[in-house]
């Protein structure tokens, strides 16, 4: 189950964070997402140094903890997408697809002329889209 989805701006500022866990404790996800930025930075700098995977936006597993997993994705504009899941096994293709759709939703939200770049995303439409993406995670998209 996906318990949290977050969008983080290129200055590492939170743009959007939605918890899908039912215990009402969103703050712990703030913490998890915030700390995962360390790992994202590490991955990005490592791949840059290695000179490989420069075009790869999907960052893969960030946190291998016992209880939850954190996956990351980074756009070309250094906007980061982070997802926290309690599933122990997720298919790579599902994850990639999830992040691609999330990215597209973000692009839509950012294209809104009333959205101030670098500010929190307040669009209800975006929230709804994210909710749909989360719901349909793991379900093969209809052809």
């Amino acid at each position: 189950m996906i318990v949290c989805v977050a969008v983080v701006g290129h200055n590492n500022n939170p743009l959007y964070l939605q918890s899908f866990s039912d215990d009402g404790n969103t703050l712990k996800f703030h913490y998890i997402v915030h700390c995962s930025l360390d790992v994202i930075e590490e991955k990005v700098s490592n791949s840059r140094r290695a000179g490989v995977n420069l075009n790869e936006t999907f960052l893969g597993l960030l946190y291998p903890t016992e209880d939850f997993k954190v996956f990351g994705y980074i756009s070309n504009t250094k906007v980061k997408f982070v997802m926290v899941t309690t599933d122990q096994d997720s298919r790579d293709a599902d994850l990639r697809n999830f992040f691609r759709r999330l990215h597209a939703a973000y692009v839509d939200a950012a294209s809104n002329p009333f959205h101030v770049p670098g500010k929190r995303i307040t669009s209800a439409v975006f929230a709804e889209q994210v909710g749909n993406i989360v719901k349909s995670f793991g379900i093969p998209a209809p052809v």
Binding site: F29, C35, E42, E66, V116
Partner: protein
């Protein structure tokens, strides 16, 4: 392969072992060469084949020389099992040491024996011939024997002999022997590896057969690994273990896996043995035929770790270890029901700490890449924080949860971590005092002050009580709910759903308080059912006490037991782990991880009262969260920091924290809280602060200038500047004062100016408009600098100057994010111009004014792009100019365009045009009808202004437009001039011949006048205009370029002073020259002279007027000695000449017949006087000469 089995070693295999080289000491010579050989161990350059059959250079190959008579090589019986288990231990080379100094002896005794030895076993051997010969003959014989041996045992393919000369000088032979030994080892190794691989292959193929036994496979595979390890081929050995682990996992996870006992039930098993391969005799696996997963996995890891340590790769041990611990923890979770209580948590803690300890001891940052170093520390940090998490879980379980900070970090770690789910919850200890102790633990006090802003986060995944009770008794839902009231934790899940969740495995704890937990599953359900009915549910203190008791009795790790036996012990251990994790994260550049854990360290400091240390660490955390805008997290830390600062009396810090709290996103803090924070700030500001405090409120108060072009001011002018201030305070905030610095953009010197607000402002939440007073500024462009507000002792500074943004246009405060303001262009808000002329006053008319008549003088007041609001004009006159200081002046708009159309010259256009208008509207001023008919222009009414004491104030409408101020003056005739004329010697002499009076052209008028006057100085201008006609003509205005006055030609001066600008601080002064003149210039000429003393005097009147005049009458007053002919009383001759109309600027002449009158003559002087009465035709007293010339020309 018919290899005789090796004897089984007495001790279970222990690694690392050495390769054995067997010594067949035929002639008891071993001791004589032993020293030389053993000195070469370990062999430096041994080339061996690895598993892939590639030659690799092994340095430090350790071998052990064992004589064949040694017990180790002699014990045991042959067997297939032992061949596989121990075959790899057999000697890898056989050294046959012989000597012989007699050919016959060799042939008869030694050779057959050697043959026996080399053929007895299939092993790699070679012969060392030791020569003890000292004499030449003996050397010769030994040489001969050796050559025979070579002939008998060496082949062309392979040299199997070498000769050692004990007394010879040559030492290279030892090297040769070493090479030979290595060669033998290589051959042996290759053959054995091949053999074992074949075995492994066979076993692997049969892996899915029912009778397959992993233990056999493991034995063979591990033997292979041992062999590689002995040969220093550790990479290959490691690979064997990796494969072994993989195959083991496959075997265990296979769907029809033979589920044997998991293990982990032995004493001391809770203490991880992942680096200690010797704790359990793994060789027993083979004997028992079963592999206990718990032990075996740890054993495998310990073997891998030890190989990696030997390969000098401790960082890899960390990495593998971290994954292994996580994996193993999961496996433990699967078997939790069969394991002792909290086994998993304890195991993880001990495993992490053991791993950290072992790896950090072996790790050296000097020999690895920086990336590896970072990675290593990161893993250490991960391990520490993993252990920390589990420690917190245990502490929470036994009732130390109040000592754990409910931070997001801990909540994230714990709230998704399930409670232990043992088969049976531990029973209550017999000692009731423990329960009482737990009951006395009071729940944490809610923080006072700002601490209430912190959310109480859950640290527990579900309710501990239910978890505990479910595992000891089936409770009804009603009981459960009742019981939960005692819990400090909230119930989220539905109890009913939970009760139906899983079958409980209850145990009557009261009856069996000391029974080992592992025996629980043997209880029969019927018995349990019966006991349940009388079993009351445990309460939370009981649960905690039971857990504590169980843990303290079961934990074998001393450190951990100490840590859990008291709150202080727990806190110390917790602090140690947290600090270590934070340090390692900092070293690995994971600043966020590190700083957040610093915050956890701070929490412990705070609880212990070390506020200074806590504040320092909290500051770091706040800075981290604040810099990246994680307000939700910041609000969890900032109140705590502010509490520390408050208690430390760090008022500046405390206020700054309050300001930060206020400037956070409004979401996490309620409005009431925000208001109370503000009240706190104000209260402190107005008292209670020992020293003034300056606060940066850039995030809370932002300001901007009004949009549009910058305010423009003239140098030295004060002004006001409108500034928009956004206040983020929740309520109105009353400032004592508000000031703003203005920064010049272009001048480098003394860059800033401070301006203050008009009055002490009250900033409302949101947008405010504040008027700032600008004192006179130096020229330059100014931008907004820093806004400073004062409240009591507190100075609030805001540096955030914002341009318009989308957010602010919506009414909210504008962007204050640093990264958005980086590229903001500086917008000039104030331009102060350089000193320049601001106003110009010119006369509309300067010349052609008539003496003795009230004349209207026009002053063109032209503001030069500067407001003349409230300006006052003060006029005073020079000598001989009368000016009525209290009069009604006229003011009207100057209309340059109109004037231009009507004037041939551009000079004084304004004045002229204005004048036209005056004429039009000046009926009350006796304007002639003709003029009205001709001038048909704009009909703006001139405004009547009352002048007092020579001063008049300009009305508002005149502040930006050029206007003409008309005032009346009257010039007296110049007395001195007059008397001078009277006594002019020319007049007393016979009049000069008439001169031509120059024509008056507008440009040359002055000149003409001058010439004429000088030539005809005595003409009777002075006192000549006695008639009281009000409307004289006026001359054309003219100002000399240099401003000097030609006073002797009737120049009078008018001083104009203008006070203007803000509060009339500016002064404009000017002296205006006015030229007054008489209507006519008079010259005389004697036209003809009779013999009788009569003569005809021609008086030429040269009109100085710009209008036609009619001379009604004229008489000439004569001095004594002259008389009029015909006694005409001085009327001209002929009398019908009068009235005479004189056009503008024309001349006419009157003739007078005069005779000398000796009777009246006194001094021979005469005086000519005339009295001209005229009536001005179609003119007013204000008509310009120039105008008339134009108008009359155009007249039909």
């Amino acid at each position: 392969m018919a290899t005789p089995p090796l004897p089984q070693p007495a001790v279970a295999k222990k690694s690392p072992e050495r390769l054995i080289v067997a010594i067949e000491d035929v002639n008891d010579l071993w001791e004589s060469i032993r020293g030389n050989l053993e000195a070469r161990v370990p062999f430096k350059k041994a080339s061996l084949n690895n598993k892939a059959r590639n030659l690799v250079l092994v340095d430090k190959l350790v071998v052990e020389f064992v004589q064949t008579t040694d017990a180790r090589l002699r014990r045991g019986l042959p067997g297939e099992q032992s061949l596989l288990s121990y075959g790899f231990r057999r000697p890898y080379a056989w050294l046959i040491v012989v000597t012989c100094d007699d050919l016959d002896e060799y042939k008869n005794l030694l050779k057959p024996r050697l043959k026996t030895i080399v053929q007895a076993e299939d092993h790699e051997w070679f012969i060392v011939f030791v020569s003890k010969a000292t004499t030449d003959s003996a050397v010769k014989i030994s040489k001969r024997v050796y050559s025979r041996i070579e002939g008998d045992f060496s082949s062309k393919k392979r040299e199997r002999c070498c000769k050692v000369d004990l007394h010879g000088p040559d030492t290279s032979v030892w090297e040769e022997i070493e090479l030979k030994i290595v060669e033998c080892i290589r051959y042996s190794l290759d053959r054995r590896v091949q053999y074992y691989e074949e075995e492994v292959r066979k076993l692997s193929e049969n892996r899915f057969m029912p009778a397959w036994n992993f233990c056999n496979f493991f034995t063979v595979k591990e033997s292979l690994a041992f062999m590689f390890e002995m040969a220093n081929l550790r990479e290959d050995a490691l690979r064997e273990y990796d494969e072994l682990e993989q195959i083991y996992s496959e075997t265990v996870n296979a769907p029809h896996a033979n589920t044997s006992a998991f293990g982990g039930l032995d004493a001391g098993d809770d203490c991880a043995a992942l680096l200690d391969g010797t704790r359990k005799p793994v060789s027993q696996f083979a004997a028992d035929g079963t592999v206990r997963e718990f032990d075996f996995r740890q054993y495998l890891f310990s073997r891998q770790a030890s190989l990696l340590f030997n390969l000098l790769r401790p960082a890899e041990v960390s990495g593998r270890g971290h994954s292994f611990i996580i994996l193993f923890a999961k496996i433990l979770t699967q078997h939790e029901k069969d394991l002792p209580f909290c086994m998993r948590e304890i195991w993880v803690i001990t495993a992490c700490l053991a791993l950290v300890k072992a790896t950090s001891r072996r790790f050296s940052a000097a020999i690895v890449t920086p990336d590896t170093v970072k990675d290593f520390y990161r893993l250490q940090g991960d391990l520490y924080s993993y252990a920390r998490t589990k420690l917190m879980r245990l502490a929470d379980l036994i009732g130390y949860g109040h000592n754990i900070e409910t931070s997001p970090c801990n909540s994230a770690a714990l709230s998704m971590l399930p409670w232990p789910r043992p088969a049976v919850w531990p029973a209550l200890p017999p000692d009731i005092s423990r329960v009482q102790a737990k009951e006395q633990i009071s729940p944490p006090k809610l923080s006072e002050g700002l601490g209430r802003l912190r959310k109480q986060l859950s640290l527990s995944p579900t309710v501990l009580l239910r978890e505990a009770n479910r595992r000891r008794a089936s409770l009804s839902v009603g009981n459960l709910a009742e019981m939960l009231d005692l819990s400090r934790l909230s119930l989220k899940e539905s109890p009913a759903a939970d009760a139906a969740d899983s079958a409980p495995a209850p145990l009557p704890p009261s009856t069996l308080p000391d029974e080992p937990i592992s025996g629980a599953h043997s209880s029969s359900p019927e018995v349990l059912q019966k006991q349940n009915s009388i079993e009351p549910p445990m309460k939370l203190p009981e649960v905690q006490a039971a857990a504590e008791h169980a843990l303290l009795t079961s934990i074998s790790d001393e450190t951990l037991r100490m840590a859990l036996s008291s709150v202080e012990g727990f806190e110390d251990f917790f602090l140690e782990l947290t600090r270590a994790a934070a340090d390692n994260f900092h070293r690995s550049w994971r600043k966020r991880h590190g700083v957040v854990l610093d915050g956890e360290v701070a929490a412990v400091h705070y609880r212990r009262g070390a506020l200074d240390a806590a504040a320092k660490l909290y500051e770091k955390v706040c800075a981290l969260y604040g810099s990246e805008g994680w307000h939700a997290l910041l609000v969890q830390v900032l109140p705590r920091l502010s509490e520390c600062q408050k208690k430390l009396s760090d008022w500046a810090g405390y206020l700054s924290s309050c300001i930060k709290l206020l400037s956070l996103d409004p979401g996490p803090i309620s409005n009431e809280d925000r208001s109370s924070i503000q009240a706190e700030i104000v209260k402190l500001a107005h008292g209670g602060l020992p020293v003034p405090v300056s606060l940066d409120v850039s995030t809370l108060i932002t300001f901007a200038a009004r949009g549009g072009p910058p305010l423009e001011l003239c140098e030295g002018d004060p002004g006001t500047l409108m500034v928009t201030v956004w206040s983020g305070f929740p309520d109105d905030i009353i400032m004592d004062s508000l000031s703003l610095t203005l920064v010049t953009t272009f001048t480098a010197d003394e860059g800033t100016k401070v301006v203050k607000s008009v009055d002490a402002p009250v900033l409302q939440p949101g947008k405010n408009r504040v008027l700032m007073t600008l004192p006179p500024q130096k020229p330059g462009s100014y931008v907004l600098g820093v806004l400073t507000g004062h409240i009591g002792q507190v100075k609030l500074r805001s540096h955030t100057y914002c341009t318009t943004s989308a957010a602010s246009s919506k009414g909210g405060p504008p962007d204050s994010d640093d990264y958005l303001s980086n590229e903001k262009p500086l917008r000039t808000v104030l331009e102060v111009a350089k000193p320049r002329a601001l106003v110009e006053i010119k006369p509309a008319i300067t010349k052609g004014l008539l003496f003795g008549e009230p004349q209207w003088v026009g002053l063109i007041v032209r503001p030069l792009n500067y407001s003349l609001e409230g300006a006052r004009v003060h006029i005073s006159t020079g000598p001989n100019l009368q000016f009525l200081s209290d009069q009604t002046a006229l003011l009207e708009v100057s209309k340059p365009l109109l004037a231009e159309a009507n004037a041939p010259s551009s000079t004084d256009i304004d004045g002229m045009k204005t004048f036209h208008n005056m004429l039009e509207n000046g009926d009350s001023l006796n304007t002639d009808d003709n003029v009205n008919g001709i001038l048909d222009y704009d009909t703006d009414m001139p405004q009547h202004l009352l002048m007092k004491d020579g001063s008049v104030e300009l009305p508002d409408w005149a502040r930006m437009v050029a206007s003409v101020l008309w005032v009346q003056v009257k010039a007296d005739s110049d007395d001195t001039l007059c008397s001078h004329f009277s006594g002019d010697p020319h007049l007393s002499s016979p009049p000069p011949s008439p001169k031509k009076v120059p024509l008056m052209s507008p440009d040359s008028q002055i000149k003409g006048l001058t010439t004429a006057s000088s030539a005809n100085g005595p003409h009777a201008t002075a006192d000549s205009l006695h008639e009281s006609l009000q409307h004289g003509t006026t001359g054309q205005g003219h100002v000399l370029p240099n401003g000097s006055l030609v006073s002797r030609f009737g120049m009078k001066t008018l001083k104009v002073k203008m006070e203007f600008g803000v509060s009339r601080s500016r002064l404009y002064e000017r002296t205006i020259a006015l030229q007054f003149t008489h209507p006519f210039r008079i010259s005389t000429r004697i036209v003809s002279r009779g013999n009788d003393g009569r003569f005809l005097l021609q008086i030429t009147l040269n009109s100085q007027l710009a209008a036609a005049v009619t001379i009604q009458s004229a008489n000439l007053l004569l001095q004594p000695g002259f008389a009029h002919v015909n006694n005409h009383e001085g009327h001209p001759t002929p009398a019908w000449l009068l009235p005479l109309s004189v056009s503008a600027s024309s001349e006419c002449a009157l003739l007078f017949a005069i005779r000398s009158d000796p009777v009246t003559a006194k001094d021979g002087e005469y005086e000519v006087d005339y009295h001209a009465a005229r009536r001005v035709n179609r003119s007013s007293n204000r008509i310009l000469a120039k105008y008339f010339s134009v108008r009359q020309l155009s007249e039909p």
